[in-house]
Structure formats: structure tokens, C-alpha cells
């Protein structure tokens, strides 16, 4: 066991820091036009698609260096490396793993260059946790699939260019996981209709997406027909590890500590209150545990061992932290905590707003109960209910 980085890894970290010192102004000084410049600079560094092959425009970096890069970026509150979060997090990796050469040439550069936005069409009105039971139908007719059905909760659908779509090509299967096919579909294809849904915080980021006789050329199929579940599983694993980023959590913890320092409760400094100290300590322990869990899992990956369901551990921590840190901040600041904005709101209302935002993390990538089932069934070998 060795927690030190090699000299070349350390050098890489320094390179990232120098780059950030030069190219990343503090958040308030990032004016209009900053983002476009930023995206092209990190792209030129080869840091977008860091571990992807050079052949398709990636950086071919090591997983350790990728972790260093992500850590430094989050530490310095850098904007994302590209505008298509899902494209970078799982559509790209999925195409890299299962796509044809032609698909890689066609889709990967646009993801790296932030030219297209992707959304994810998995969940349906009747199938969320039980994703493998989806029933959006894709029927092969000649060199096209004809798609009919409905997706829901599709984040980013109102502005996405493409959707990675899970369909059913075979209904009379013994295992519901068979007969699923993954298609890549342009959102402007005739027969695709998007109806945004408002969430409880008043945003309209996700949507219902309807498919009526949508024609999808066979060359847009990702992976084999009927084998779409494998594609999804690997994508979901990517989602779990990408959502499980801990560096952002440390940054949030710093904000929370700053709030505690700035807050008086019952006329006394909140930071001196043992009850408050204990909560902050618990948050920090969980986040640090997430960090070292992540490093242990990374080591497994580096050794070529398959990464299975351990990532659900961090997913569960992340879910409870996402809820509890905001809730704690809201409670701590009393009547100022329940204001969404205005002069009298604690931290400008940011904690109140995040106390309404947790479902994206907690429900979005598979609910806590489902994560617990994964751990109990796949790792501990308990019977399914």
C-alpha cells in the first residue's frame, strides 16, 4: 500500500495546477465568452476524454492521472470539461466500448468538442427501478428500426441533440434483460416529441419524450440487437462512478464549514456548539471515506480486476450527504434558512435551493433502496425479494 503519487503523477498534478492558475479566474470574474475559451483550451490540452484513445481525439491518459485531473478541477471549482455531461460520462464511453469504427468517428469528436448534447432515454412511465422491463418498441423493417413508445424523466431532453435510447426489439423473451436494443437517435427525427416536466424547485430540466413511428437507421444501433442491457449496465456503472465524485463534496463541505463559522445560533457561535461539531465531523468522515473507497476501487481497476457493485457504497453515502448537508444548513440558519433568496436568506438561499434539489442525485441514478438491493444481492449473495 502506498498513498504517494509517482514523480510523473506529481508532475502532472503540478501541470494541472499551473494551467488552472493561468487560465481559471475566480468564479465572479468569469465573464461572457469565458466558457468557450475554457473549453477550447482544455480540449487543446487533451484533457477532454482524458483516458480515451488518441485515435478518436482522446488523451490516452492513465486512470490515475484522470483522477488527479478531476480532483484538481473540482478543487478549484472549474467548469466542466465539456457541455455534454452525459456524452462525456457514459454515452462516449459506451460508444468507445460497444460502437463500430464508423460510430466512433461519427460521434466521439463532436462529444469532445462540445458540439452536441446527449440525453438518456432509459426510464419509462411504468419502468424506473425495474429498468430491464422497458417496453418502448423498436421493430426492424428493412434497414431501419421503427420506434414507438414513451420515455420519461429524460434530463436535458428539451435542449439535447441526440438521445441514447433503450428499446425492446423482442417481447417473447424468458429473461426480460434479453431482447433490449440500444439505439442512438437524433432528437429532431420526425415523430420525436418532447414535453418538459416542471420539478418541485420550479425548473424544467427533464421531460417526457414520445416516439411515434420514428425511423432509425440500423447503423445507429449501439452494440448487438437484443444485447442492449449489457451496454446499459456498463453505462450505469460509469454513471455511478461519475456521480460519486467526492471532490465536489469536499468543496460543499468547505462551504458548509464557512456557513457554520459565520452563523450564530441561540446567540452563540454555532461553531462552538458540540451538536454542530458532531454533525460536521460526521459529514467529513463520510466524504473522506468516499474518497478512499474511490481510490481503492480505482486501484482494483488499475489492476485489471472487474469493478462490480462496490460503487453502490459511495452512491449511498452521496445520497445521504446530498440530503443531510443541505438540510442541516437550512435548520442551522433557522428562518433565514428557509428563504430561497433575497437579503434575509442564509448564503443567498443556496442551501434552501439545494434542499429541494437532491432527487437528481438520490433518485436519478437508481434509488437508495435499489443500491441496497445491489449490495445485498450481488455482493452478500442474499436472496432476491
Amino acid at each position: 500500500m502506498d498513498f504517494d503519487y509517482t514523480p510523473s503523477e506529481q508532475a502532472f498534478r503540478n501541470e494541472v495546477r499551473e494551467f488552472l492558475a493561468e487560465n481559471l479566474p475566480p468564479p465572479k470574474e468569469r465573464g461572457r465568452g469565458f466558457l468557450a475559451g475554457w473549453l477550447s483550451k482544455v480540449r487543446a490540452k487533451g484533457w477532454v476524454g482524458f483516458s480515451w484513445p488518441k485515435e478518436y481525439g482522446g488523451g490516452e491518459g492513465s486512470l490515475t492521472e484522470q483522477a488527479i485531473l478531476k480532483e484538481e478541477m473540482a478543487l478549484h471549482r472549474a467548469p466542466p470539461l465539456g457541455t455534454s455531461f452525459m456524452g462525456l460520462a457514459w454515452v462516449g464511453p459506451g460508444i468507445m466500448q460497444y460502437g463500430t469504427d464508423e460510430q466512433k468517428q461519427r460521434f466521439i469528436p463532436d462529444i469532445l468538442d462540445s458540439k452536441v448534447n446527449w440525453c438518456t432515454g432509459y426510464s419509462e412511465p411504468n419502468h424506473g427501478s425495474d429498468l430491464a422491463a422497458i417496453e418502448t418498441k423498436a421493430e426492424r423493417i428493412g434497414d431501419h428500426y421503427v420506434v414507438n413508445g414513451q420515455k420519461i424523466w429524460t434530463t436535458g431532453a428539451p435542449w439535447a441533440d441526440w438521445i441514447i435510447l433503450l428499446t425492446r426489439t423482442q417481447f417473447d423473451v424468458e429473461r426480460k434483460h434479453d431482447g433490449i436494443t440500444c439505439l442512438l437517435v437524433p432528437m429532431d427525427a420526425p415523430g420525436v416529441e418532447v414535453r418538459p416536466i416542471e420539478n418541485m424547485a420550479g425548473e424544467r430540466n427533464f421531460a417526457e419524450v414520445f416516439f411515434t413511428d420514428v425511423q432509425v437507421p440500423v447503423e445507429n444501433r449501439l452494440g448487438e440487437e437484443g444485447k442492449g442491457w449489457q451496454v446499459t449496465i456498463s453505462a450505469l456503472a460509469n454513471e455511478r462512478s461519475s456521480i460519486g465524485e467526492v471532490t465536489q463534496m469536499f468543496a460543499r463541505l468547505d462551504s458548509l464549514k464557512a456557513l457554520v463559522k459565520a452563523t450564530r445560533r441561540q446567540g452563540r457561535p454555532a461553531a462552538d456548539d458540540p451538536a454542530v461539531q458532531r454533525r460536521i465531523g460526521e459529514f467529513e468522515a463520510k466524504i473522506a471515506a468516499m474518497k478512499y473507497n474511490g481510490l481503492r476501487y480505482l486501484t482494483k481497476q488499475l489492476r485489471g480486476e472487474p469493478l462490480s457493485s462496490e460503487t453502490s457504497v459511495n452512491k449511498l453515502h452521496r445520497a445521504s450527504l446530498e440530503i443531510e448537508m443541505a438540510d442541516f444548513a437550512v435548520e442551522l440558519t433557522g428562518m433565514a434558512g428557509v428563504q430561497l433568496g433575497g437579503d434575509d436568506a442564509a448564503d443567498g438561499g443556496s442551501w434552501a435551493r439545494s434542499s429541494l434539489g437532491w432527487p437528481g442525485v438520490v433518485i436519478g441514478g437508481g434509488t437508495p433502496n435499489i443500491q441496497r438491493n445491489i449490495i445485498a444481492e450481488r455482493i452478500l449473495g442474499l436472496p432476491k425479494d
Binding site: M200, Q266, A345, A352, S355, N369, R372
Partner: protein, 359 residues
């Protein structure tokens, strides 16, 4: 001993519940919470007055019904179930304050107007967002009031404000006309429990009621008990909504309520609600019939409910999955209420510590 409601109290509950079902469906609650439909709001307030809810705890000789907080409990619980945005609790607090701390003239001047719904009160006791203590009262008292009161409950819309003030060590409640105060609505998480910031510039109080620290504590306890009573109804409503959903939502070929991860959590919610309900009923009874017991009883009820309802609000949304997160679905309205309940009139830390200090 008879820890149950009377026939009359049950009838009152039925009446309130029917009224809420007919007149305050969630579409109306949402519109009022957005500050829309002032005309309908006024009409509903008038109906609430005619049904006697605002007069319930006002003594008969001042035009009230002369009942107790345990009767009011029934009304508040049903208000909470519907997330009723009308300031019934603030009206009761104002009535309790004036009945207890006012002189005969002041009682005669105000209690009848509260009972009839004519005077609509917003309440501002503490100036700090999280300091429940006489020292948390800062607004300077006197013949003319100048300063701010940052979190006035139900200040908008209202006709009058009841504001705690201090002059040296002396505390008082000032009644001011809302029209003379500059009020700004605060964008609160829960629109059904609106607060406003009041800025006063040489405002002459219509009346001033000197109060003791015990009076201030009493009014805070009335608030804590009232909030908890409303939380009972709200928590029961979200438990019912979530249980019904768990019976019908199918995943993995079964209703999700079949899975213990869902079923047991719902059962735990029931345990918590039953428990803070009992604590709150006892506290509501103590307001009129065992006032020495009130501080402990109010604190136990509010502390338990603050944490338990916060968890219920979150899991009510979470157990629905994504649909619980939508604006259209009602589960989220209860989550928002639970955020406000947590801090209103003292959070769990404050109330548990108070219980400890009581020995």
C-alpha cells in the same frame, strides 16, 4: 382521565375537513401560496370566521366561542392536512397574546375583531432567524417605532402586525397597522407559510401591551404547539398519499409496498406521527389546563416533530421515485412545509436543550 376527543370536537373536525376538501383543494392552496387570487382568499377568510374557527379561543364576553387550545387543535390539525395557507394559527396566537397580556380596553378593542376576521394579524416576535430568547427581541419599543422586524409570519396579507419590542430590559407587544409599515415578501421555501420583512419608520403603535419573559415564552410555546398540531395533519396526509402510491405502483412485478425497504419505512413514519401527535395533544391541553407543564410539553412535542416530520417530508418524496419530485404532484408541498416546521418557534436542538435545562 379521558385522552380522547368529545363528540363536539369530532363534529368540528368533520366540518373543517369537509370545508378543506370543498374549498381548499391543492390547486387553490397553490394559487394562494403564490399570492394570487386575493378575492377568493378574502372570501375563504370570511367563511373561516363565520364557521367560528377564528373565535374559538376568544372568551365569550368579547364575542368569542370561549373554547380551549385543545379544541383549536382539531382545526389546526385539519388546516395542516390541507396545507391551508390562511393564517389561522397567527390569529390564534394574536388572540392568546391579547387575552393574556392586554388590559380590559385592549381586549375589548381587538379580540372581537380577530374573532370576526376583521383584523388579520401577522406576528413578529424574534429579530434573529434562530434565537428564541428575550435577547433575540431587538426592535426598540416606545411611542414611535423605528427599525426592522425581519421575519414577520403571515405579514402579507394582513391588516395588523403584532411585534415584540424591547426598551432596556422591558418587553412589550406593539400592535401596528400594516398599512403604516413597509413590508417586503420573503421568497420562502413553503409559500403556504409566508414571512415578510417589516421596516418601520416612526410608526405609532395603535396599542402597546407590556409583557414579561414568561409571557414571551408562553406565546412562543403556543406557536410551537400550533406548528406541531398542523404538522400532524400534514404528516398524516403525506403518509396516506405515499402508502396509497405504494399499493398501486408496480415495479419488479409487485406493488412497491411489498418490499420491506418501502413498507418498513412507512410503518416507521406511522410510529413517529402517532408519537408526536400524543405529545402535541398533551401540550395543547396544557396550554389552558396545566400551564406550568406547558414549557416541557411544548418542547417535547415540537422537538420530536421537527426531526420526524423533516424525515417524513423527504421520504414522502423519495418513496415515490421521480414522480414525487414533480411540481404537479402534491408530495413535494409537504416536504416544503416540513422545512419551515423544523425551525418555526424553535428547532429540535433548542427544544431538547430546554427540556434538559428544565431538569
Amino acid at each position: 382521565m379521558d385522552f380522547g376527543f368529545s363528540e363536539e370536537q369530532n363534529l368540528l373536525r368533520e366540518q373543517v375537513r369537509r370545508f378543506m376538501a370543498d374549498e381548499l383543494p391543492s390547486s387553490t392552496v397553490r394559487a394562494l401560496a403564490r399570492g394570487e387570487d386575493a378575492v377568493r382568499r378574502g372570501a375563504l377568510w370570511q367563511q373561516a370566521a363565520e364557521l367560528g374557527w377564528l373565535a374559538l379561543i376568544v372568551p365569550e364576553r368579547f364575542g368569542g366561542v370561549g373554547l380551549k387550545w385543545i379544541d383549536l387543535a382539531v382545526v389546526l390539525e385539519e388546516c395542516g392536512r390541507a396545507l391551508c395557507p390562511l393564517p389561522v394559527l397567527s390569529a390564534a396566537q394574536a388572540a392568546a397574546a391579547i387575552a393574556r397580556c392586554g388590559n380590559e380596553d385592549q381586549r375589548r378593542a381587538w379580540l372581537g375583531r380577530i374573532a370576526s376576521g376583521d383584523a388579520v394579524f401577522g406576528i413578529g416576535l424574534y429579530d434573529e432567524p434562530n434565537w428564541i430568547d428575550p435577547q433575540g427581541v431587538r426592535l426598540a419599543g416606545g411611542e414611535l417605532l423605528t427599525g426592522t422586524k425581519p421575519f414577520v409570519q403571515d405579514g402579507i396579507p394582513s391588516t395588523h402586525l403584532l411585534l415584540a419590542t424591547r426598551t432596556g430590559d422591558a418587553l412589550a407587544l406593539a400592535i401596528v397597522a400594516t398599512a403604516e409599515v413597509e413590508l417586503t415578501a420573503q421568497p420562502a421555501v413553503d409559500g403556504t407559510k409566508p414571512t415578510a420583512k417589516a421596516v418601520l419608520n416612526a410608526v405609532r403603535p395603535l396599542d402597546t401591551l407590556p409583557i414579561s419573559v414568561a409571557d414571551l415564552d408562553f406565546l412562543t410555546d403556543c406557536g410551537a404547539v400550533g406548528v406541531t398540531l398542523e404538522a400532524i395533519g400534514a404528516a398524516e396526509a403525506v403518509l396516506e398519499l405515499t402508502s396509497e402510491y405504494a399499493k398501486t405502483r408496480i415495479q419488479f412485478d409487485n406493488p412497491i409496498g411489498k418490499y420491506q425497504g418501502v413498507k418498513h419505512r412507512l410503518a416507521d413514519m406511522f410510529v413517529d406521527i402517532e408519537s408526536f401527535k400524543s405529545l402535541a395533544y398533551y401540550a395543547a391541553w396544557a396550554v389552558d389546563d396545566a400551564v406550568d407543564e406547558l414549557p416541557r410539553a411544548a418542547s417535547l412535542a415540537k422537538a420530536y416533530a421537527s426531526d420526524a416530520f423533516a424525515r417524513i417530508g423527504i421520504d414522502g418524496v423519495g418513496l415515490h421515485g421521480a414522480i414525487g419530485y414533480t411540481a404537479e404532484y402534491d408530495a413535494q408541498l409537504y416536504l416544503k412545509r416540513s422545512k419551515w416546521v423544523r425551525s418555526a418557534f424553535g428547532d429540535a436542538d433548542f427544544h431538547y436543550r430546554r427540556v434538559a435545562a428544565l431538569g
